[in-house]
Symmetry: C2
Subunit: 414 residues, 2 copies
Amino acid sequence: MTRNVSDSDSVRRQNRGLILSALRSGGPQSRTGLAGVTGLSHASVTAIMQDLLAQRIVEELTSSERTDGRMRGRPATLVGFHRGAAYVALLEVDVNRLRASLVDYSGVLVDRIETAISPSTFAQTTPSEFFTLHLESLRERTPQAAQTLRRVAISVQGILSSDSSGLKWSPIAGLAGSSFAHDLAENSGLPVSLYKRGRLLAEGTRWLDPALHDSSVATVFVGSTVAMGLSLHGHITGRSEGGATEFGHMNHVPNGALCRCGMRGCIEAYAADYGILRTSYSVPETTPPAPAVPAQQFEALIQRAEAGDRDATHGFNLAGRAIGYGLSRMLAMFDPTHILIVGPGARALDLFRPEIEAALSSSLVCNINGLPKILAHPDEREPIFRGLMMKTLSALDQTDFAALESGSSVQRRA
Amino acid sequence: MTRNVSDSDSVRRQNRGLILSALRSGGPQSRTGLAGVTGLSHASVTAIMQDLLAQRIVEELTSSERTDGRMRGRPATLVGFHRGAAYVALLEVDVNRLRASLVDYSGVLVDRIETAISPSTFAQTTPSEFFTLHLESLRERTPQAAQTLRRVAISVQGILSSDSSGLKWSPIAGLAGSSFAHDLAENSGLPVSLYKRGRLLAEGTRWLDPALHDSSVATVFVGSTVAMGLSLHGHITGRSEGGATEFGHMNHVPNGALCRCGMRGCIEAYAADYGILRTSYSVPETTPPAPAVPAQQFEALIQRAEAGDRDATHGFNLAGRAIGYGLSRMLAMFDPTHILIVGPGARALDLFRPEIEAALSSSLVCNINGLPKILAHPDEREPIFRGLMMKTLSALDQTDFAALESGSSVQRRA
DNA sequence: AACTTCATTTTCGGGCCTCGAAGAAATTCG
DNA sequence: CGAATTTCTTCGAGGCCCGAAAATGAAGTT
């Protein structure tokens, strides 16, 4: 059943991983500093570092800027990631755009291609072709990276198939159904990972705001859809061990408003931009939702509500109530201390807040533990990219580089 | 931050723990068998076993019954837990009873005391006194165990305080508020753990039904309360990393029926015995709930519904709907493959099932992944006890015995 | 009765990794 | 220039695991 035997190999892997992860979250550091952070002895750090240097995974930085107060003693030689050690390609798929980025091993953006996506995009090209094409472009434009490209990671919206080779369902037209991750892996010869956008939001906010790094946060995206990712004490939990949830399609009211997904009564049908719009304009809630809401139209609606417009306010009230009861139901299973609203809807938090808090107050756990802190962060792009990047680079650290054999087996590249 | 250094000590701990856990779930086994199950080499198993034998944690069994077909070769000497190596005390607190059990290290029940609990019990005695008293009784009645009693574990209902020293809220009158776990630990000088009943149900069913052991199961208790525990691929997840949820007090309908907890619209207010009773007798849903429902009255109601009685059927329908929508909302965050109904309500699963399935069918995830399998297991006592016991003994294995120093440091007891 | 067969268990030597202590290196301060 | 100070490396000891070989114990065979 469980094969978790520990031997000297796993010890090395664990401790190498510890050093890489300290480097990942703390930036270039001295060996002494690493020894302090990881808890390893100086001797071990030195030994491991010699391997890592020989394998060209890290490199010594000659800066030695000595910005610290104490100016005595032998100056520390900082060690940081060797930028050329690996590259990763990151694809962020959205309803209306693909953003393909090439990032080096130290986390520096090397190249980026953005392409518009329309509802007909995946009718003309299959997702597999589309992604393969963009990956090829990245490779061609940075030839030296093509050699050492190690991984591809894709951020998507929807429900993953059980083997993570594609999507079972997605709000992005034409994306579900094909196993594009599998195809892309075959075409490129690289491992391809699929991540839900909501999960990456949770991951990304951890890296974005140090105060939230170790607390428990539920990150809720409000915009063209509604999504949630959970990060509890630094661990990501949730559906399929994936940390993402189908929060947007959690039922709010039985037989309620029609959602884009085809079901009725989803939170999204009340709280996504199209839902708020539908309510505000008193369109019957069983009317099929608009395919896309322009940003400025949503912004205008916020301003109308802020100015006191009755109908617009009503739309945001219903949305806040849907989110609030959804959160209250989520709180029966998780206990985050903070709730972070991101995306276009974050701008309107003040409009949502009263209804959210009212809904939360009517739940037992909030009555006993108090309300979680509700914060807003308008930008959702940066956390998603950062989450995707950190997740992918950390996986590279642990899976590929921590496990390398030690000793004299130096790998050399021209 | 993270001090997870791996050294030879952690290797030994890991591998000793592996062997103990194999013994825990597989019963007495030969060294060869353990080597196969754990993945360790024969040499290592022998070495570890020598330590464990010297420390009197395990013992060789002289049975050698050779029940297997092959009768050639050196007969295996089975190794099993040394029963006297440790004892644990398990306290199961219920609305109307305390069950205190003494169990030896191999998991055999040695002694048991049952005491009735009434709503006034904890008005006369403090919880701390009450539990200390029962623990003393167990110790006195089995003097040889008093020496090696290592842990106390308590199964409770309600919301744990953040430091797990007591309860913030509980349906058991007078139990919340005091930090009885902390007091009991001081009085007895033993570590005391508090577990939520729902979590133990999830833990217990894993050990009870081998088919469910490694699948993802949501265990729902339906009876005097409604509770849920989650066990996903053998890992227990949920609130406070505790694996238990406040499912029963998840909101079903805003401003709905009055619940025992004082809030309105909880699932429990519709699906616990008192809720079903209230609906069936057309009592207004804001009427304060009955403090306790006799088992035979609930049974009679089931029979009336089975016989086709309109009002009773209506009660079970509403209950099924509340459970169904609750599950549908839970499924937006977790993806168990099985749902197990336990407790008195399991008897009535056929009455609940149509409404549960209807509610689940209206959710996106069920539409895409299909409905989870819904099963029933009428007895909830056995899983709780078993979960509490296995959880506690496994913790003892890993925390206390896997970490013991090896070598010549033999601990001896008269 | 001695020998073969076979499965289980133990012993032995080699390898790997971490650690503490002592030594080497690189600066600043007096 | 030497003392002080901080960082980094080297070295031997101690642990643990593993594979291979040897020992053990029982049943079948000659």
